[in-house]
């Protein structure tokens, strides 16, 4: 057991960084995820099919392509990247923030799908009942819709987190593989497999990766069950 926990500082950093990147990616994609899911579930507008396609693109494209597109758009010289760096001082390229962006984008379709499905399951007549009681649309969303889609929200968040923990292709293409900055768990494992005698390190990180993923999964199960019991929908 000792050899498992006896990590080098670089390996520890990779674990910490992975959790940080996945958490930030998950939390940052929740608000736009809810918004887009609402638009797709309820909106009736021109270009809905296009939006749907765009959201699902990272699921279909090879991750390397997504990473390269991110590099073109959010890189130092990319239109969005240059704008954000100049006006807000936010830099993505070769930073851990870039890794979070790549992970967030890759997990986005999974998150949106989960939330979308739960929004479609909400009985709109219950929302109308809240409206007749005096709640304006914003209050209806906050007090009725949001609590009712909570299980879907949790599922979507966990999917996004899990996807971020495992994301490799887009991340390495966009922000490379810099120890202590952009080297997440998968990148670190990949690096170990590329050097002679790296097997032990790769195995260690693989096991840690499994433990974290299982923990996230179990946590989501427990959370979803607790919410489900509280709601007790007929």
């Amino acid at each position: 057991m000792n050899w498992l926990l006896d990590l080098t500082p670089d390996e520890w950093n990779a674990v910490r960084l992975s959790i940080k990147v996945a958490t930030v990616a998950m939390i940052a994609s929740l608000p736009p995820g809810i918004l887009i899911a609402l638009l797709l579930a309820r909106g009736r507008f021109w270009g809905k099919t296009l939006l749907n396609g765009l959201v699902h693109l990272p699921l279909i494209l090879p991750p390397v392509v997504t990473g390269y597109l991110l590099l073109l758009t959010f890189g130092r010289r990319g239109p969005a990247g240059a704008f954000l760096a100049e006006h807000f001082g936010i830099i993505f390229s070769f930073r851990w923030t870039g890794a979070a962006l790549a992970c967030g984008v890759m997990g986005f379709p999974l998150m949106v799908r989960a939330i979308w499905l739960s929004i479609e399951a909400v009985d709109r007549r219950i929302e109308a009942a809240a409206g007749t009681l005096g709640a304006n649309p914003l209050w209806v969303f906050a007090t009725i819709t949001l609590p009712l889609i909570l299980p879907g929200l949790i599922a979507g968040a966990i999917l996004s987190f899990a996807k971020a923990m495992g994301e490799f292709g887009a991340t390495i293409t966009f922000v490379s593989n810099i120890p202590n900055e952009t080297q997440t768990l998968p990148s670190a494992i990949y690096t170990f497999t590329q050097v002679p005698g790296g097997d032990e390190g790769a195995l260690r990180l693989t096991l840690i990766s499994i433990v974290i993923s299982m923990a996230a999964l179990i946590a989501s199960e427990v959370l979803a069950r607790r919410v489900g019991r509280r709601m007790d929908i007929e």
Binding site: I126, A128, L133, W139, I233, E234
Partner: protein, 370 residues
């Protein structure tokens, strides 16, 4: 309260074109399914925007397409009780009841939690989740939730339609209390003659999206031709009476009405309490001489004031009994055999056992007390 509506609204396969005004305590929108009554109530609540028209309550315009006014539903302060309670599944009963209070300005909050909980007898349910309630309990909570938003008008869209007879009998007295003990005007959608006759002060009859008739309940219920075919057997005279005394020996209650004394199976009401009864036209026999040797206990004397051919072999006869009109439905053959014509002096005969829970205000269950 005066509710006035003049609306035209097209749905995919039919159109509602209704114009009516009502100032009743409880106005029933009555008609068979597909007559447009639910559309009309949704238009009043603001759940649908009409193609054209105007709705106002006490002069406050809720919608006026000509003036481009549309008050959104959350600003209308109109309570709504739906057929399928629509309680919030993620809140307790207490949470559901309190929901509307948040959105009511404190100066306009007239409904008191304790009073409403008492009125509806839901005190023991407050901590429960909606999923753990019976259909009748759910509907009572839904009524309470609407009341506690302190509405200016309460709409009820077939609140009993999805309940069985026992549950209906459980809730009806509470709606009567609501009508008699609160000041909120109620608009009640129903396709049931029994409910309308028992609850309504005024009736708007809808047929295929149009208003077929409107007026006080007694006047409308007499017109059997207005009732949908499957409900015609339920139609008849509606009389407002008072409990005169109880006959403990035979388990009957004697009611005083304009038409005379009427004996019905015992009611759980105190002497002097108002009771509205419905005498189904099919339950009334007509005699030209005061019958003797007959088991029926109620024999009312009167004059024939109306005669109208009914369906098939039937004829409907209106008998004015000292100011109250009782409707009888008999065959054309009997009419001719008895030589009945306008102005004939006759006796209307009604069996006591033809009165049941559905056509007498049976009163609150004993444990609730009156």
């Amino acid at each position: 309260m005066t509710l006035s509506a003049d609306i035209s609204h097209r749905l995919s396969d039919f159109a509602v074109e209704a114009r009516f005004e009502s100032a009743g305590r409880l106005t029933a929108l009555f008609g068979p399914s597909g007559s447009g009554k639910s559309t009309l109530i949704n238009l009043i609540a603001g759940l649908i925007r009409p193609d054209k028209g105007r709705i106002s309550v006490d002069g406050n315009v809720l919608v006026d397409t000509a003036a481009r006014i549309f008050v959104p539903m959350h600003k209308r302060r109109i309570g709504m009780v739906f057929q399928d309670a629509r309680l919030f599944p993620h809140m307790s009963v207490a949470g559901n009841l309190r929901y509307g209070r948040w959105f009511t300005p404190s100066s306009e909050r007239y409904a008191k939690m304790d009073a409403v909980v008492d009125l509806l007898g839901i005190g023991h349910l407050l901590d429960r989740r909606p999923a753990k309630l019976s259909g009748g309990e759910r509907q009572r909570v839904a009524i309470g939730r609407a009341l506690l938003a302190s509405p200016k008008l309460l709409l009820m869209d077939e609140p009993l339609a999805s309940l069985d007879e026992a549950r209906k009998a459980e809730i009806l007295p509470y709606i009567e209390r609501l009508r008699d003990e609160t000041k909120i005007p109620i608009v009640y959608v129903s396709h049931s003659v029994a409910e309308v006759a028992r609850l309504a002060s005024d009736v708007v009859v809808l047929s295929q999206g149009k208003v077929a008739a409107a007026g006080p309940t007694e006047a409308i219920m007499r017109r059997l031709d207005l009732l949908p075919a499957e409900e015609r057997g339920e139609g008849g005279a509606v009389l407002d009476t008072k409990v005169l005394r109880h006959d403990e020996v035979f388990g009957m209650t004697v009611l005083a009405s304009q038409a005379g004394e009427i004996r019905v199976p015992k009611l759980a009401r105190a002497a002097g309490a108002p009771v509205r009864i419905r005498i189904r036209a099919r339950d009334v026999m007509v005699a030209t001489e005061k019958p003797a040797g007959l088991s029926a206990l109620n024999i009312l004397s009167g004059t024939i004031v109306g005669m109208k051919p009914g369906e098939g072999p039937e004829v409907e006869i209106g008998i004015d009994c000292h100011g109250a009109v009782v409707i009888a439905r008999i065959t054309e053959q009997s009419r001719q055999a008895l030589g009945l014509k306008l102005g004939s002096q006759v006796f209307a005969v009604i069996k006591t056992v033809s009165f049941d829970r559905a056509n007498t205000g049976a009163g609150l269950p004993a444990e609730v007390g009156v």
